[in-house]
């Protein structure tokens, strides 16, 4: 349950049982290996455009996304492979999307930054920093107006908190007490600009509190802490108490994108954060607690490797959308065509 001030409670959360621990680890390993494969395929020229990898931040998607129900909506940023995978978007469809194939989850129109799967209520993949936040407010407004108890989860980076759209969306969600989860993944750099070099108030939860949103800061390298905080926040929001804000403190181990020479941070800083690797940390705890063993870790790696190999094969076997279909899906209703259910009574 949410603590009275809705700060994530400090009680050290634990996994319930071996299957639970395995599921968390499996998801993190799956995302890590998927991202490593993407980097490899980028170097091989199979994936083009911008590619933003989630390596180092896996605990957030793996811990937070399973706390949502199937009827809840998720909106994310351009670094969203992990969220899509954790939501159950098919790995093959994601890979095919990055290949630009029509079997991709956005028919090859979106690429890495624009993964969509409306059947999973996964609404992108938005490459405008903070651009999805107002959408999330609207999703929640619709749920509220239709009397549904769904919540909308919106992931964004700390860079988004310098955008006006964050402040407009936070104010509107709080003013109307809408069921929005504002989930900030603070990896300390907006591309190459450090938080301390770009924002006057670096206590991000404090900035959420000025809009009277409950929430707090969480160790984003600890999947159990993420899950625990998310569970409390979801319950709080679903109960009709208005929006919540969580800051997940994390770090991206790799460059911002494949074009980034990383001139803005010291190698030593990256190495120090790698000591907090969410996967190694969780493995160590699970082994020490006796719920997982080396054999199980090996089995997870093999399962994940097989799934990713199948995803790559699916993408390789995919087909190119015919160029004749280029202008398809710009409008749901073709120009010059009256709505089918709407006989014209007049042409004024």
């Amino acid at each position: 349950m949410a603590t009275p001030d809705c700060k994530p409670s400090s009680a050290c959360p634990e996994f319930a049982h071996a299957a639970d621990a395995r599921a968390l680890l499996w998801q993190m390993v799956r995302i890590r290996r998927f991202e490593e494969k993407c980097a490899e395929l980028y170097s091989a020229g199979k994936i083009r455009g911008f590619l933003h990898l989630y390596v180092g931040e896996e605990a957030i998607a793996a811990g937070a996304v399973p706390e949502l129900r199937a009827g809840d909506a998720i909106l994310a940023t351009y670094r969203e492979h992990g969220h899509a995978l954790a939501r159950g978007v098919d790995a093959g469809a994601i890979m095919a999307e990055m290949y630009g194939k029509q079997e991709g989850c956005s028919r090859g129109r979106g690429g890495s930054m624009h993964l969509f799967d409306s059947t999973r209520r996964f609404f992108g993949g938005n490459a405008i920093v903070a651009g999805a936040l107002p959408l999330a407010v609207g999703f929640a407004l619709a749920d509220r107006m239709r009397g549904r108890d769904a919540v909308t989860a919106c992931f964004f980076g700390e860079g988004a908190m310098a955008e006006g759209e964050f402040h407009e969306a936070a104010n509107l969600a709080a003013l109307w007490k809408l069921p929005v989860l504002f989930l900030c993944e603070n990896n300390l750099y907006a591309m190459g600009t450090a938080l301390t070099r770009s924002q006057a108030q670096t206590d991000l939860a404090a900035r959420a509190r000025i809009y009277r949103m409950c929430g707090g800061s969480v160790d984003g390298m600890d999947v159990l802490a993420v899950r625990h905080a998310m569970r409390e926040a979801v319950a709080h929001v679903r109960a009709g108490n208005g929006p919540a804000f969580l800051e997940f403190r994390t770090y991206r181990f790799r460059a911002h994108s494949m074009f980034d020479p990383e001139l803005y941070r010291e190698r030593g800083e990256v190495e120090r954060w790698k000591e907090h690797c969410p996967i190694e940390r969780f493995q160590g705890r699970a082994i020490a607690a006796g719920v997982l063993d080396e054999g199980e870790l090996g089995r997870i790696e093999s399962e994940v490797a097989a799934e990713i190999a199948a995803a790559v094969a699916f993408a390789e076997a995919g087909t190119w959308e015919p160029v004749e279909d280029l202008e398809r899906d710009i409008y749901a209703r073709a120009p010059g065509m009256a709505p089918a259910d709407h006989p014209l009574e007049s042409r004024s």
């Binding site: 129109r109 407010v137 609207g138 407009e168 209703r333 709407h342």
Partner: protein, 335 residues
């Protein structure tokens, strides 16, 4: 409502243009419970231009939503609500303020369907006032609908008649795509007659508002009425003008433009936008592409002068197209 919509001849009502807009809003709210109106001062204030007056009392705060001054957030929220099953009508006070929401309109509303491989529909309507003529100077008076008509994925409407002011909203709400409706502020007080029965209108075609032989005046929105006045004046000199009301600015009804110009062999495009890179330029290009060899004279344009619209009345009048400018241009084309 009734005090604005006095019964006139049998089967028709006489009313101001803003009241026709209100009838359209009310009809939509009555017909579909998924419809709601949101924007700045649409509720308690009654709408900046009194268009939504009385709707809060009739439909309540949940469906007539006053918003903070956050154009980007409430336009984006409209998009999100449309994606999640509602039929939002978002009102932006004036076209210049819509620039604060341009990110949402361009990067989300116009883009998400195609970028998602056709998975998403955005049945959203955004209404805003446009145009000059009220001495409100350069941050309230522009005609930027031509900019929006540049963007694939949007449908752009410009009602000019009372029937369209009432009927276009419902057709726009039934459309599965994002629709922007530009309402010229100078028309708001204009009186006119419409049929008493609510009628849906087509939003795909232009309409010929006056038939002529000698020249085609191609226009939309607030300029329609100046074109009709110009056509009256021209008739006095024995010149008969076709007046084509485009109604839908994207997608353009090419066939109506071609049909009119093929008949008259002369075209004058009247557009309150600035000349350079304008909708008028696009229409002229299409005429040249499609009916060049049928023209008896080069097509001409009457557009706003390329200045930020000024405050002083004589300067504003000089900046935006006037009836005399249209008449003079037609005489040049016929010379």
């Amino acid at each position: 409502m009734k005090k604005h919509a006095a019964k006139a001849a049998s089967g028709t009502i006489r009313l101001a243009w803003r009241d026709a807009l209100r009838l359209g809003l009310r009809e939509a709210l009555l017909r579909d419970e998924r419809v709601f109106l949101m924007g700045e001062d649409v509720g308690r204030y009654g709408g900046t231009y009194a268009v939504s007056k009385g709707l809060l009392e009739e439909f309540g705060e949940a469906r007539i939503r006053d918003t903070p001054l956050s154009e980007s957030a409430f336009v984006g929220a409209g998009i999100g609500a449309a994606l999640n099953g509602m039929r939002p009508i978002v009102e932006i006070m004036t076209v210049n303020f819509s620039l604060l929401a341009l990110d949402q309109i361009m990067n989300n509303a116009a883009t998400l369907r195609h970028m998602s491989g056709g998975q998403l529909n955005i049945p959203l309507v955004i209404r805003m006032t446009t145009g000059g003529g009220r001495q409100l100077a350069a941050q309230h008076s522009h005609s930027l609908e031509g900019w929006y008509a540049h963007i694939p994925g949007l449908r752009i409407l410009a009602p000019a008649t009372h029937e369209d002011a009432r009927g276009m909203l419902w057709s726009a709400l039934e459309d599965p795509d994002p629709v922007l409706i530009f309402e010229h502020a100078l028309l708001l007080g204009m009186e006119g007659e419409i049929g008493a029965e609510f009628r849906a209108v087509d939003i795909d075609h232009a309409a010929l508002r006056r038939e002529g032989r000698d020249v085609s005046l191609i226009t939309y929105g607030g300029m329609l009425h100046k074109c009709l006045q110009a056509a009256e004046r021209l008739a006095e000199s024995g010149i008969s003008a076709d007046v084509l009301d485009l109604r839908t600015l994207r997608p353009l009804d090419d066939s109506a433009i071609v049909a009119s110009v093929s008949k008259t062999r002369r075209a004058v495009i009247v557009d309150e936008g600035w000349r350079s890179g304008s909708l008028a330029a696009e229409i002229m290009a299409r005429i040249v592409e499609q009916v060049f060899y049928e023209l008896d004279a080069p097509p001409a344009r009457v557009c706003s002068r390329e200045v930020p619209v000024p405050y002083a009345k004589h300067l504003e009048d000089a900046a935006v197209p006037q009836v005399e400018d249209i008449v003079a241009t037609v005489h040049q084309v016929l010379a």
